[in-house]
Amino acid sequence: MRFGFLYQHPWIYDLALYGLYHGDPHARFKQVANEIPKGASVVDLCAGTSFLFRQLQEKCPNYQAFDINPRLVKHLQKRGINAHSFDVRTDAIPQADVVTMCSSLYHFHPNCKDIIQQMQNSAREKVIVLEPVHNAKNSRFAFMRLLGAQAGIVDGKINEFYFSPDAFQDLIHHTSGFQKVAPAGDGRDMLAIFDGHASTTSEPSPQTPAYS
């Protein structure tokens, strides 16, 4: 499995995020955390080094991180985070009150709508998607373009698709259960919220999914 150099080590990943978001990658995750009710169970897909967990650790102890990159998963597990190797394209998303995905939906183009619907089927309350719409790959600075391009390499696949504001709006407004959209961070991202469709009477998901 081949990843861009951003994903080779958790430190590089963290540094890249600081670079991409001008030293403050936390604001956008705070915004996501603000949308999650206290005490909600959370499934965080494509969690990376889980910046979201840092905003949720006191508010939502029932948090699970999922990522396709075993290095990052191992790093999270070492930090005591309930983290699992996971491929969104093939694995069943565990149920939770809130299912999130931050800065990763573009990897799944052209199946983004299906991915959101799968997330909705597993979310009892809501789905939160945070996505860059002014991608670093289009930056006027060469270094930022390099970071943006490297961020797009996951599982050996070089991503050529990035959301524009219009493309993201087009997607979310044509996805059933769309609730709201807001600019996030410094305006380079958009945050979209959708209804969860999972039954609220079902049993809570196990802390460790059977397939991990």
Binding site: N34, K180, A182
Partner: protein
């Protein structure tokens, strides 16, 4: 295709109000007078508020509401960008800054869940707009206003008939502003009304609306004898006239009947457009009454193969007048250039702003008018389909 042009928002003017206007003209008293007072009383009764104060427009109503609320330069007032510019303009008229909060993409009303993030030490009021006649979530808005000690000034230009579990629109907020513009559910050509339950504000509003002259100065030339007035405030020329009130006095009697007609057209549109690739208005929330002022569809170029403006032009070519409610206010040059609002700040409002189109809806429309609108909309899709199939044949 219909032969004559269907004017968007054509008012329903009947013989009763024509006779009333003529009688007013012949009476020799055409300015503010007893008919204005009678219209205020009729409107107060309709809404169920303690006080109703007539003015020359809803814009004037909003401006005066800002003033009596004590909103001053440097203050911030939260409102929606999906509104007519008058809402934001009125805030700037008193030197305050409009702080926009994005809309809920389904209701098209301000999203109450996003308001709290916008509240600062400078915030003094929230102005929700009951877009198209769909009442805002007044439970959340009143709770927010109470929690942060903010004034709640409602822009009810579209919402004369709107009702909620918290009460009828016009009885909930501190001050509520209504419009009687030509296209509105009640029209006095131009005109507005403010309702409130606060006696002190009601008194001030009357004074501010007529040059700041002492109460009932309009009576100074009446048959009760000349009375001296005092200027208590450098007020405005915002009074309604008896000529305008003559229209309102009869329009108001048809509110219930007209709402039923609007609802019937609304249902017909819903039914006729449900299988077309356009978005129709979201269903009304339980326990609320929608005033059915605007029927807005969303035209998405991906679905229709036509930009919204082109779609509007196609309707125009078929003799159907339409409206656009609204271009998001934060994108207007003044708000963009002077107050530094930028595209991308309110994505839901911008999305709607680019796609919304209001179809004719009103009691002056007969059944044939309604069918003409439906036929024209369907015809655009049929024509596009045939154009597209011809293109495909040529390409293949």
């Amino acid at each position: 295709m219909r032969e004559d042009f269907l004017v968007f928002g054509r008012p329903q003017i009947e013989e009763d109000e024509i006779a009333e206007v003529v009688a007013t003209l012949r009476s020799g008293w055409i300015g503010t007078g007893p008919k204005t007072t009678a219209f205020e009383e009729a409107f107060r009764t309709l809404i169920g508020a303690k006080y109703a104060i007539s003015v020359g427009s809803c814009t004037a109503a909003l401006h005066l509401s800002m003033l009596v609320s004590g909103i001053k330069p440097g203050d911030e007032v939260i409102t929606t960008p999906m509104t007519f510019c008058a809402t934001a303009n009125a805030i700037t008229h008193v030197g305050a800054k409009p702080i926009f909060v994005d809309i809920n993409p389904k209701t098209l009303n301000i999203d109450p869940d996003q308001i709290e993030c916008a509240i600062t030490d400078k915030t003094r009021a929230i102005i929700p707009v009951h877009f198209a006649g769909r009442p805002c979530d007044m439970q959340k808005l009143t709770a927010l206003a109470k929690k942060h000690n903010l004034m709640l000034i409602e822009d009810a230009a579209h919402a004369i008939e709107s009702d909620t579990p918290q009460g009828k629109i016009g009885t909930i907020g501190d001050l509520t502003c209504f419009s009687f513009y030509v296209t509105k559910n009640i029209t006095t050509a131009e005109g507005g009304m403010i309702t409130t339950n606060n006696a002190e504000w009601a008194e001030k509003l009357k004074i501010y609306a007529l040059h700041g002259l002492s109460h009932d100065a309009w009576k100074r030339y009446s048959d009760s004898g000349f009375k001296h007035y005092e200027v208590q405030f450098p007020g405005f020329k915002y009074n309604m006239t008896d000529l305008q009130a003559s229209l309102g006095l009869h329009q108001i009697k048809r509110v219930d009947k007209n709402l039923k007609r609007r609802e019937s057209i609304w249902r017909r549109y819903d039914e006729a457009f449900q299988n077309l690739p356009i978005k129709i208005p979201a269903p009304t929330s339980a326990n609320t009454i929608h005033a059915r002022h605007l029927y807005t569809i969303l035209i998405d170029v991906k679905e229709t193969k036509l930009e919204r403006d082109a779609f509007q032009h196609e309707l125009f070519k078929r003799n159907i007048g339409t409206g656009i409610h609204y271009t998001s206010v934060h994108l207007q040059p003044y708000y963009r250039d002077v107050l530094n609002y930028q595209p991308g700040q309110f994505p839901a409002a911008e999305y709607i702003s680019d796609r919304t189109l209001s179809l004719p809806l009103g009691p002056s429309m007969n059944d044939q008018d309604v069918e003409d609108v439906i036929e024209a909309v369907h015809d655009i899709f049929k024509t596009r389909a045939s154009v597209n199939s011809v293109q495909v044949e040529i390409e293949t």
